[in-house]
Symmetry: C2
Subunit: 195 residues, 2 copies
């Protein structure tokens, strides 16, 4: 963590991201990352104890580089609950492509690696928080459907906006990003807003 080795560390994180981005999260090995960062495979372990840690650090690096907090501030200033939901869907939905590669790699590791599971779960909690806030804003406006509790509505929103769903629509079904955002805004409104 010392400030001296930032260049190398940054180079590693950047390379990791680029490789995962390019390969759509599939089969990126530690040796590939090392090669891309122009260091030896072993040197990777001088900076990150294991693959899970490297991937987690990469998500944090991306959050930092893209200043995700600033973008989220936008949804906080929404005039109504429905507007807040709309902005939240758009903001998160447009951030997914950026983190997709890393997210996929982390999700794949989740099955076997305890640490990776915890790391990814941590990220999910942050997103769930955004979903919860949107649901609360709807509730405050009296606009939340009465077929669900606040918690269920949050579960539902989080599920609809999952990375896997984005992957399926955007990549498997070949939707455009704009179409994805549009349809998700419509779907979440239909699902959560009282008619």
């Amino acid at each position: 963590m010392s400030s001296q080795n930032i260049p190398t560390r940054d180079r590693i994180l950047k390379s990791t991201w680029q490789l995962l981005e390019a390969g759509n999260g599939s089969a990126v090995r530690m040796s590939d990352i090392a090669k891309a960062a122009k260091i030896s495979r072993q040197a990777l372990y001088l900076h990150f104890p294991n693959r899970a840690d490297l991937l987690t650090a990469t998500t944090r690096y991306l959050d930092e580089v893209h200043d995700i907090d600033a973008k989220l501030a936008k949804s906080r200033s929404a005039a109504s609950g429905t507007q807040r939901l709309e902005i939240w869907v758009e903001t998160w939905g447009n951030y997914i492509p950026t983190i997709f590669g890393v997210a996929k790699a982390l999700m794949a590791m989740q099955e076997t690696d305890e640490e990776a599971a915890a790391a990814w779960n941590d990220r999910i909690c942050a997103i769930r928080d955004g979903c919860e806030k949107a649901v609360q804003a709807l509730k405050a406006d009296g606009a939340l459907t009465d077929s669900m509790s606040e918690e269920e509505a949050t579960d539902m929103l989080l599920t609809i906006l999952s990375v896997r769903n984005w992957e399926q629509l955007r990549i498997d079904c070949n939707w455009t990003q704009a179409r994805y955002i549009d349809m998700m805004q419509q779907l979440t409104a239909k699902a959560l807003v009282k008619s």
Copy 2:
């Protein structure tokens, strides 16, 4: 053991299913399956050339045992498009728990194994077909929303009804199976039926 008489191949498939079912699809090795089927690990390879083939054969075995075709016939006799959608969501949604273990293992392999990807894709096509038929029934009734094409509606339905979404709601969020079915019937109706 009552399983003593069952032919080896069937014993393997049954053991595979039981292990994947119990372990929620996580970390079931070839050696575990062999042990459960009371044969040597190497003998597994006398029946199935590799892990992907074994998993695929297991899904077919499950389809056969549960006579999934008969269950699907039910939705074909629905009176209206909306009813057909409702029955389709219920039928498929209630089949997911059965195949979940195998599905998850197959999905995990998909990333690295070409054959596993093809096998799982094959299964998805069958499910997509069910979704498409439901959408067509809605269209025929003039009940399909006009915010989407038939193809997009099919993509959307397939995505909403994904195994991953079931996992998230049923397992991660701890919803009951009945609640899952109920909410998915509501959500798919809101998403696809013209209001």
